[in-house]
Symmetry: C2
Subunit: 216 residues, 2 copies
């Protein structure tokens, strides 16, 4: 498998975590989002959305991150990202999709760029926008976790689809100085995940295109 | 089942279509998004996200529309919203989730309200924003449909998850005067869907809270 991604792209980060959790080996191929390498014709011919990540696997290029995660869980079911029980599956998807749609989509790089140009907003206004959408959904997610009396993970003793989406979003939340002090369930789950090798290896700082990468 | 929704909310419209396709009877309970009835304490106690739609079914309130559609397809599998074949399932989700995340989430009412206040944008600027995100994803979706040589539906001879998400988005595209003349696959699929009773009954104009509703 080949994963075309960018170290700091949170959807690329989701895929790196999921592939690691599944124990699937992959070659990581950096594509620079900031210089828009993802808009090069060679790339958009393979992925008309021009989005990252793109996974080349089983003879096909796939590029929509939530559809990719669902596919990965069906094609490589062990260990599962979704529980067996229908009620638990709904809960797992509810919280994962709330973050993917109500936070990430609105705070994604193309949207932030549009706010800057053509809309002319300052970095301060963009940072306020970013934190507004974080709070609007992370506060009810925290409330749901409290209601469910969640422990180190949303379901059982291992991370699932929710954690795959949550951890990259909290990485971004910290970059934008979002205050997580009133979110004990979120930060406990994050800490439990970050202690796992699958998450550690997937971290942006540990990718070959990261300026933060430590010598191996 | 009880569906709490708003006639013009495209996520409520998704659920009405899906419930009709599954042949599931439900009571439609209007919640006025414009006067923010969805932020009333009685409602947010049941749904901490304060979002529509909310489906009361099997003793539980569920409120994240994509998670709800996935749950519905698992709890009531016939007729299916997703094909059996893994490759076809990926394609169905790719296009459905592209619209749900890359268009709908960015053009959702709370985002448009934020652009107006506090950001102070004019209705013209907001309409341009709306059409920008439509084009950015509908153009590659149309290209994918051409590549797949899609007929009246993305997969087989019946609508699935893609059509459930597409039709409400095109209803909104028309409200915002988006030009669909270069999208023959999208408009053919839309026409095939709108000819079906399940879509007809789900249409915003046919809900009891719509001012357009014709006398029965």
């Amino acid at each position: 498998m080949k994963l075309y991604g960018y170290f700091r792209s949170s959807t690329s980060y989701r895929l790196r975590i999921a592939l690691n959790l599944k124990g699937l080996a992959f070659e990581n191929i950096p594509v620079n989002l900031v210089t828009a390498e993802n808009k090069d014709e060679g790339f958009t011919q393979r992925n008309p959305f021009g989005s990252l990540p793109m996974l080349e696997a089983d003879g096909r290029d796939r590029a929509q991150s939530m559809a990719l995660l669902e596919w990965l869980d069906e094609a490589y079911p062990v260990p599962p990202l979704l529980p067996q029980d229908l009620e638990a599956r709904y809960t797992m998807r509810e919280l994962a999709y709330a973050i993917a749609t109500e936070i990430h989509a609105i705070n994604n790089l193309p949207v932030l760029k549009y706010l800057k140009d053509p809309l002319g907003h300052t970095q301060d206004e963009i940072d306020t926008w970013y934190r507004h959408w974080l709070a609007r959904t992370l506060v009810p997610v925290e409330a749901r976790l409290a209601q469910l009396d969640a422990g180190d993970f949303l379901h059982g003793d291992a991370p699932g689809l929710f954690e795959v989406v949550l951890v990259p979003q909290l990485y971004n939340a910290r970059r934008f100085a979002y205050d997580l002090s009133a979110s004990p369930h979120l930060t406990r789950i994050e800490a439990a995940c970050l202690a796992l090798p699958a998450f550690e290896r997937a971290h942006p700082d540990n990718q070959q295109d990261s300026p933060e990468r430590k010598p191996q």
